[in-house]
Amino acid sequence: MSEAIKQSISAEPGIIQMDGVHKWYGEFHVLKDLNLNVQQGERIVLCGPSGSGKSTAIRCLNRLEEHQQGRIVIDGTELTHDLKHIEAVRREVGMVFQHFNLFPHLTVLQNCTLAPMWVRKMPKREAEEVAMHYLERVRIPEQALKYPGQLSGGQQQRVAIARALCMKPKIMLFDEPTSALDPEMVKEVLDTMVSLAEDGMTMLCVTHEMGFARTVANRVIFLDKGEIVEEADPDTFFTNPKNERTQLFLSQILH
């Protein structure tokens, strides 16, 4: 067993804890007994074939999906039906979606200031300063006054990252952030994510970008049919996978 995993198992409860989480869509058992403990500053990559439940798993962490059994505790707050808890968790957890989901009726700057102003009650001027700071971070401050519809896919996704960062979250969730992008735009988004990782952000990424997983992740988790099949540090995962299902998956995507 690798150092990283030993550490995460032996250490005290992390910033994200999933204990025996189950979820069903009607009769379909999507998530089966997921257990995950993530320490602050860890970078986890979730991968797996489509329909394996990786997106569902990550969406349970900010309650966009509801789990039906087990416990999820984020930064000390347990996700239950209590709306206060859900909103408290969502304030601390930023999310980036496959299809960006920027608000098309607002400018880039307004997209970034919306949540800080209305959720964090930040004054407008301060919110705009924060927004410009993060837009510079993702290297598109010059697009601040444009509408999302006027930007390329890669730019939109970088705005989406900046928008999530403006809430100063403790955790960032990425749900296939590069899957909807043209090949030439993937790199600009990945670069942004790498620089975020270098700053010590706790990140959970659902992605098929194995290069990214190799350079950035502390741990790679392989899911299939709603279960964690293999969990390892990237070196072990890519060079010496234990499970045959993982080997098959890797042989199909690494070529």
Partner: protein, 365 residues
């Protein structure tokens, strides 16, 4: 290494651009299209010249009585003489300035909302929406702060039409939005309540609603408790139209991708902020054509208040045409009514087109 040289841009063929190009593609693109064009021109020639002849060239423009209508064309003297009645109904002549002032206040008060650089526009708009109706009620109805009372039974003409239409619109839009949200609510009790309300009001003809409000309702109310007939009609119109608005808005809400809801929720926005800041601005923009469509229908439906004996524009004109002193003026009267209705409805339609262009942020779905 080889370098590719791109060909220079060339001007398009003469026959595909400009007036000639437009004519060719739109009017004479095929023999069938040419035939249609010629037929349309013939129809226009058949209708328009006689109409101009009747309405302008052979029309009577000056005079004071029926005796001045001497020519074959329209007699606009009738409209001139009864103009006051068509605009104000039976509103006392010496108090008509109060109606004029109300209209001017609406124009001047709303003007800043159309200035793009105006700061704190939303706040001003909200204040205007709260203050203006109170002020308008005081001016039109009076009865306190030194203005004499003009009972609503004396209101009429275009003024009454505008009162019903604007109160109807101002009341039905917010109520309709709330109903639309309620119909998509996760809470079964609220959803059932809203669905029942909407389906009830959509299932009843407006005439029935007005008739019920004016004839039946007083029978159910306890002795001595009665409220104004116009008020009852207004409430009927608001409830009726809100059901239609609700369905239009619901269409818009359903067109917003799930990702927008998720992104808003993931940021920690609660239900009302998510709806107010993210979903509704987009949904309402999408359904501007549908909403304005309902508004235009509402504006024209105000003429149904004839059924409960209110004298709106159309009823005032109808009344005037039955005057023995002005026998045979029905055509002029109804043409005038049609013109007024058309001006307002066309205005609304143009404004909605302008609004759609202005709110377009280049995001095509």
């Amino acid at each position: 290494m080889q370098t590719h040289t791109f060909k220079p841009d060339m001007p398009p063929p003469v026959l595909s651009v400009g007036v000639l190009g437009w004519l060719r593609t739109n009017l004479f693109s095929s023999w069938f299209n040419t035939l249609l064009t010629l037929f349309a021109v013939y129809l226009v020639w058949l209708i328009v010249p006689p109409l101009i002849q009747w309405a302008f060239i052979e029309a009577d423009w000056v005079g004071t009585t029926r005796a001045d209508c001497t020519s074959d064309g329209a007699c606009w003297v009738f409209i001139q003489q009864r103009f006051g009645q068509f605009m104000y109904g039976f509103y006392p002549t010496e108090l008509r300035w109060r109606v004029d002032l109300t209209v001017w206040m609406a124009v001047i008060g709303a003007a800043p909302l159309f200035i793009p650089q105006m700061p704190r526009k939303a706040l001003y708009g909200l204040c205007f929406l709260v203050v203006y109706p109170l002020l308008a009620y005081w001016l039109l109805h009076g009865g306190f702060f030194g203005l004499s009372t003009v009972p609503t039974s004396r209101w009429g003409g275009l003024m009454l039409t505008l009162v019903i239409a604007s109160v109807g619109i101002a009341g039905a839009l917010p109520l309709g939005i709330v109903l639309a949200l309620g119909r998509r609510s996760d809470m079964p009790a609220i959803r059932v309540l809203c669905v029942t309300f909407i389906e009830f009001w959509r299932g009843v003809p407006l005439i029935t609603v007005l008739f019920m409000s004016s004839v039946m309702l007083p029978l159910f109310l306890p002795e001595g408790l009665s409220f104004d007939k116009l008020m009852r009609a207004l409430i009927g119109v608001i409830l009726f139209q809100s059901a239609y608005i609700a369905e239009v808005v619901r269409g818009g809400l359903q067109a917003i991708p799930k990702g927008q809801y998720e992104a808003a929720a993931a940021m920690g926005l609660g239900y009302w902020r998510m709806m107010g800041l993210v979903i509704l601005p987009q949904a309402l923009k999408l359904v501007i054509p549908g909403i304005v469509n309902t508004f235009i229908a509402l504006f024209k439906d105000t003429s149904l208040v004839i059924i409960i004996g209110l004298f709106d524009l159309l009823n005032s004109i109808k009344q005037a045409t039955t005057d023995p002193a002005w026998i045979g003026m029905a055509t002029e009267g109804y043409v005038f009514a049609a013109l007024i209705f058309w001006i307002f409805c066309f205005g609304m339609s143009r404004y909605s087109m302008h609004l759609e262009r202005k709110l377009n942020t280049g995001h095509k779905r």
